[in-house]
Symmetry: D2
């Protein structure tokens, strides 16, 4: 326990990578909201394995069925359940995993946690595949949020050593940000994007992998959402985003870079723009004291290199308790960052709908 998240919107994710179905239940959606199935499918497509030419991963249609919570094309307000089939399962690829855990995967910890009873195939419940139902939920929440003027855009800010072009966090180019969702490789700088892809392809050629950073913007957020101390927006977003496999860092605004700044450099001074209170800079990422201040909420998510690599690695045979070299055969993805980006967007959509409902209620 618990694969659940949320305060006003409650989301539970279930399934194993190679079980019959994966899915999610989300409770607390406002009733009467139009649900555009094609838009959900398009959103899922952005995450789908097999979408990326530089990758050779498992192919899943990632089609979905909503079996509850939607009636005549609108949310009922009662729990929405979305289901997806696992169609391209190849459990035989994972026969060894239980015995010989993959480094930096959950094979070993899952075995200990569940006393050997967990489903070991493809990481079971720990698999990145479980972000698919998160994305389906997020796709529904996005539609509801956008009717309230809140939108989400995310870019690949870094792959390996290659960084995307800089952005003014206080006054980002909204049109450019919103164009990201239509790009197969969502970076702002085209040349930087090409370099990143080269880094990924080189890693694949070597049987290796690379990590990176996703930077997401939540735009149109009213000031005053969130709660103090442990109910702060940062607490809630981080607890959700760390639910995405391979995330090892979450920061806000200027993030860890603020450590090297002086207060006089880092503080976001206030000014007025057309009668609205705004800040000159946005090092705080739109958040003060855990509460939104009306500026763009900026979230940085650090994603580690995919732990599944083709190179030989040292592991330990858990049955004989002896060290052994592990070679992972079969497909692998040299960089999970582009797919994790979609999960980050989805998570933020769920989180901001939760925050919105907390302030405005179901009648809001």
């Amino acid at each position: 326990m618990v694969s659940s998240w949320g305060t006003h919107l409650k989301m539970t994710i279930f399934g194993e990578s190679h079980g019959p179905k994966i899915g999610a239940v989300v409770d607390g959606l406002p009733p009467g909201e139009k649900v555009d199935l094609a838009e959900i499918q398009a959103f899922l497509q952005r995450r789908a394995p097999g979408n990326f030419p530089w990758s050779t991963t498992r192919r899943e249609a990632d089609t979905f069925t909503i079996v509850s919570g939607v009636y005549r094309g609108r949310t009922t307000g009662t729990p929405l359940c979305v289901l997806m089939d696992n169609t391209d399962a190849r459990p035989q690829d994972y026969a060894e995993q239980k015995r010989l855990p993959r480094p930096s995967h959950a094979d070993y910890t899952g075995r200990i946690r569940y006393q050997g009873a967990n489903d070991p195939r493809g990481g079971g419940h720990f698999s990145g595949r479980l972000t698919a139902p998160l994305c389906a939920v997020g796709a529904v929440c996005r539609q509801i949020l956008s009717r309230r003027g809140i939108t989400i855009a995310a870019r690949i800010a870094q792959i390996g050593e290659v960084c995307d072009e800089p952005v003014d966090l206080a006054r980002p180019d909204l049109e450019k940000l919103h164009s990201l969702e239509h790009r197969q490789f969502p970076v702002l700088g085209h040349s930087q994007g090409r370099e990143m892809i080269a880094v990924m392809e080189a890693a694949r050629a070597e049987g290796d992998s690379v990590g990176g950073i996703v930077q997401a913007f939540v735009l149109g957020v009213p000031p005053g959402l969130g709660d103090p101390i442990f109910g702060g927006v940062e607490s809630r977003l981080a607890s959700l985003l760390y639910g995405i496999p391979a995330v090892k860092g979450v920061s806000f605004g200027a993030g860890f870079d603020v450590c090297t700044l002086k207060g006089s450099e880092n503080n976001d001074s206030f000014y007025l723009e057309e009668g609205q209170v705004r800040t000159c800079t946005n090092n705080d990422g739109g958040l003060n004291g855990g509460i939104t201040n009306g500026m763009p909420v900026v979230v940085n998510v650090g994603i580690k290199p995919t732990p599944s690599i083709a190179l030989p690695q040292q592991s330990v045979d858990l049955e004989t308790l002896s060290e052994e070299t592990l070679v992972i055969t079969g497909r692998h993805d040299p960089c999970i960052v582009p797919r994790a980006l979609v999960a980050v967007e989805a998570g933020l959509a769920a989180a901001f709908l939760d925050l919105y409902l907390g302030t405005f209620g179901l009648k809001g």
Copy 2:
């Protein structure tokens, strides 16, 4: 809502910076645990304002009273309430704050969130002063954890541009780590410590402030604690640590640095040491799939420069809606990092007791 945290251990923090009392209630403590009051006081002393020669902040005795949950020196198992008085309150220092919000503080967002009804004095419920009861709770949890072989050590890893000496995350020098709690300025490298203090003093002289990074180690953690997806250790720790004011980044193990590594460099290979499964490196910070793997849990916490500085700053008069220069008079702390470090330790103690109880129950 909600200034509460926890799954098996439930902690609620209350109070305002200049109200009559601040405190915390913690429910779910195992019964019959000895509570050493002197040890709690010593732990609080490490956080207390006025403890640091390079700082000139408000002085609070930070004495505490436990009014429930302890009987004859041991936990009863029913809710423990700890209270602290606010003795050195100078509310007049804060008269202007409601009208003219301090940049990068919660003055503006608190006003919006609570429709102007929040206590503006010294940040009210948003004040860093609220970490005092967190520390009292953490001090109790530390005692209980240490009887189960789990200890916590934290160091200042960076102030401004100055970094502490490097540590092997997989095999840290335990003796050195445990000595940190007895040092007034908890860094491993003495010369680096002196440099950091110089940076802080320079900032104070300029009326400015600096930020930094705290790195904490949780040692002796059994493998198998935590839960998948949103119940992962990272999710839980981050949601707690972001409750500490001025925290803008939380990462685990090698943190954001993993983005530039290859999978073959980042993966923590397994080996055997006296029959125990261990990892050669510890880039994952002791956590795979949200579950502890038995290696030290390593957490990095990025803390922004204290937003209260003596230099003039631009703000907006919220009553006349006009821009105005703000000058904050009175004491200020040029660097919150050493005090935040104690709160990080406290938070981790609460979090790991919560995790421990989740696996082993009250009978464990």
Copy 3:
């Protein structure tokens, strides 16, 4: 929100009476527990519509599929999702319901609560049909509990004015109680059972319905489960049992009858039996201060007459806002009590597994 329940075991129920699927997700099950599918099916059969000769209700096979959380016949410890199809849906029967709400049903309140967006067919998410997934979850929990020595038995204590034979709550005949689950009409007294069936058949013949009381016993419960104040066993059980449609009263032990007793009559004196502390009477139903005392836990559940009756009733046309006579056509069940009994057993199984895990943890 929220169709969820539980502290250590978390259960979420989803679906609408005439939607494509209904189901439940349960998180927090101990790993490695054998799941006997045939036993689940047999348990569901006891609840299934069409099981009762005196009733002429909708027929549902109530077959189920577990799509996650079970691997090679054992729980994985990760969320278990069970799905059921709605096969005998006749949505046209319910065309009028949205306009003309059925008295004492949720048609009117559901419409208000969800601003008209709820699925009106057969009560939608409010339907008694949603107890089917609860029963599936309960059937799994029963198996796990029985391995820990805890069993549940329930009887129909009253239908209309007819009461079952009296039971000594402190020393019930265990063999007789355990035989109840094998009886189509679970009463202890055979003649009383025949009378109750006659009452039900008479109601059906009149196009009317009757209510009754279920009394359940949880046996083999160790002392010390539960928590004080709002975490008491009574609080938890009642919050779950009121999730079963038509339940209007929940009491424990001697229930409301204690109001007429003196303290000297009602108090359960202690005595010793083979070195065990026990009580002479069991008016408190095995619970003191919200905590189990080792005696049988006794729960009484009052169930109202099925609100769907064939007789004409007065309602209000919500579109024209005029009073109108409503005649409900189609099948209806004259007494929900025998089926609600199975849901009560299921709920108690989930609740006691939750309580057990709270004390003994996952390692217990």
Copy 4:
């Protein structure tokens, strides 16, 4: 865990009967609400021991201090903490209790649950004294609710065999109901009240005690509050009300009496009154499918005879494990019902504010 309750409003109660202080923290109150301290004190006075001439119980001033969450007479919206001193503690009265548990008290179960570490004095955390902070919280919530048109009235419906006069649950006399809070003995029928007091005095004279039933009405409730299945109003209210010591039954509307009714008698037909949908009868107590329907919410609470009696009782010496006669000396209260009534009112106030916030949010 957990002495906490609530979804949108979170309340935690702490303290032991003879510890230094008892209190409560409530989080989630809407900001800017006027808090009338005299009104709180008057409400507490209604519950205070020593208020009742027919009783000779412990005298506590039950004065309170609010130490957080109120600024300049209004709620801040951040956690409100209320504290009370235990002034009339006589711990020596309770010396034996740990060894020789009082029948039908929590002495035995508390000892098992907390492995002997609980505070045994006067029941410790299990004491009815803990309803004092619940009443303080409820007194605040009442004030906030009444500004939204929602009021609460409760009567003693039964003491021993004596019942109060009948009430039309659908159209109760509002003026009469509202007068109850100003009466020392809140019954509707004066002669019945005199009889009840006679029953209580007789019990006291015999060293015995009596139980009874409280019936509460929540008036002015808008339709549409609450949630389906486990989030229903009944589930929430029952889980709260069972937190009041000595409560053994909670039912709604006509309660357990519905079991003997036909559906045609029990169903609450709809009609129109000045354009509003209302029901002719109110057997469902204003609740259908867990959601309010706009009629008065009617709750019945069955309270057992006070287990502390002067008559000798059989108990078990837990140290020597031998049966022994227990004689409780010192003051005792022959009937807890009048004081429990105030706690019921308080609990309902908290519960309905929670429900209200769930629908209308903080902006509502």
